[in-house]
Amino acid sequence: MKKKTTNTRAAKKRKKIKKALKHSILMPVLVCLLLYAAIAAVGYPFLSDFVSIGSMLFQNGSQSFSRSYENIFTPSDNSSDTVDASEVTYPSINKQFGKLEIDSADIEAKLFFGDGSIPLHNGVGLYAGSFIPGYGKTILIAGHNNTYFNGLKKVKKGDIVSIHTSYGNYEYKIKETAVKKATDKTAYDLSADRENLILYTCYPFDELGLTDKRFFVYGDKISGPDIVGIYE
């Protein structure tokens, strides 16, 4: 009889606890989930535009603000006339992929892909809309006149520009220099069907201040492997 009473009491207590849990925890959680669902359902037509704009503010990985750069350049001893496209590691923006030298002008600079702040702060940069050496088209390289391209003031017709990359070494003979306006679109031809090198920097050299003039150096390829199998 006593045992039965204890069991009934325990069952009553369990029921009480169950009820208390239901009302104190389960119900608020359930209502919370319903609130999420209601807000999503009702808010979607109004908020979908804002959500899609907002999602553009986020990216997959975390943002890097480092001014450091990656170097994919390793000196090559390739002396053949061609190099297969599959053997060429195409550089991405802000990566050092080569070295540029003009002995006659005391220029030795790291060559980067892209001509933004990081490349021009640390060396010279190949305009990403032009082509890498060996491609058979126009190579457009920029540098600052107060740093790595200050020596361009010394270059003369016939001087040799060397570009070293991981897939081959290239030489270009300077055929002319010219001072043109920065906005002069005839200063370069990115659609040329022959491999030609254009180096440019701000002008005048060693003077305080800025102008809209640029100093251009034009050269033609004399040696270096052509990249083959690009379109295969």
């Binding site: 608020p28 603000f65 305080l208 201040g209």
Partner: protein, 280 residues
């Protein structure tokens, strides 16, 4: 399920609906308060700017960009080391923020920076005995430098948000007033129409606890997802600023959520107390 449906009376359904609406109103009111004290408040913006590393990062970024310009203008990199003065930057950013909240045209004052730059150039040319051949080139350099400065001080997106600011302020005030009035009405209805006071308190408890849970869980979900670290902004200073603003906004929501959870705990205790009393 059958048992559950059997237990449902029209009165219960009505009270449950009121509870749900009350929870929604608490959320709407809370979010309106948070919006008014965060994004729509000038004080919030100033606090975020002062507590984050925004000014320091901004000075570094401006210096970096000016150094690049100097590389093309015959200036030594050392010239820019102490050129960008944080006090001037703070003043100009504050003035830009003031214009934003006052609905004035968003322009950046560059006159102080220009004066500093021209003075520094004078000292530099005197010290290094440099002769300026064409004053026009110096003016062109200074105007480019001022453009860099103005672009950096300008806070992206603020100009497009300015028109929305006044509208949003009015909307959130209206939402807040309507939410408070309706929520108070529902609480009164729940308290006056239910003969069992502890049951009325249970409905109010459910509304406050569930809205509290939502308000606490939402910022926690955002924090856990790591979204704040994945802000797609190209400059470190702006990323810090937007990150700090979102963090401040989410923290405010979290605090309000905790307040409602505490209120709901008090309501639960009161509910139990009244229930026990009425059982006696």
């Amino acid at each position: 399920m059958k048992k559950f449906l059997k237990k449902l009376s029209p009165k219960k359904i009505c009270y449950s609906a009121l509870t749900f609406i009350l929870a929604l109103l608490i959320i709407a009111g809370s979010l309106s308060i948070v919006m008014k004290v965060s994004f729509l408040s000038r004080g919030f913006m100033t606090d975020v700017l002062n507590s984050s590393s925004y000014y320091n990062d901004l000075c570094i970024e401006i210096t970096d960009e000016l150094t690049d310009l100097g590389d093309a203008s015959g200036l030594d990199r050392s010239f820019f080391e102490n050129l960008v003065d944080e006090v001037t930057v703070r003043k100009d950013v504050q003035s830009y923020i003031d214009n934003f909240y006052r609905g004035k045209k968003l322009t950046v004052i560059t006159s102080n920076f220009e004066d500093n730059l021209r003075n520094a150039l004078r000292v530099y040319t005197d010290k290094n005995n440099i002769k300026i051949t064409d004053e026009k080139n110096i003016d062109y350099f200074v105007s480019k430098a001022c453009k860099i400065y103005a672009k950096s001080v300008r806070i992206t997106y603020l100009d497009s948000l300015q028109k929305l600011l006044k509208k949003a302020d009015g909307i959130f005030t209206a939402v807040l007033i309507v939410s408070v009035l309706l929520a108070a009405g529902i609480v009164v209805v729940l308290l006056l129409t239910n003969e069992w006071k502890h049951k009325s308190l249970r409905y109010i408890y459910t509304a406050t606890a569930s809205s509290g849970l939502l308000l606490v869980s939402f910022p926690l979900i955002v924090y856990i997802s790591g979204a704040l670290k994945r802000l797609s902004v190209l400059s470190r200073s702006l990323s810090d600023l937007y990150g700090a603003m979102l963090k401040g906004f989410l923290n405010d929501i979290l605090v309000i959520g905790i307040v409602f959870i505490v209120i709901s705990a008090a309501l639960w205790i009161a509910h139990n107390h009244i229930r026990r009393k009425s059982a006696i």
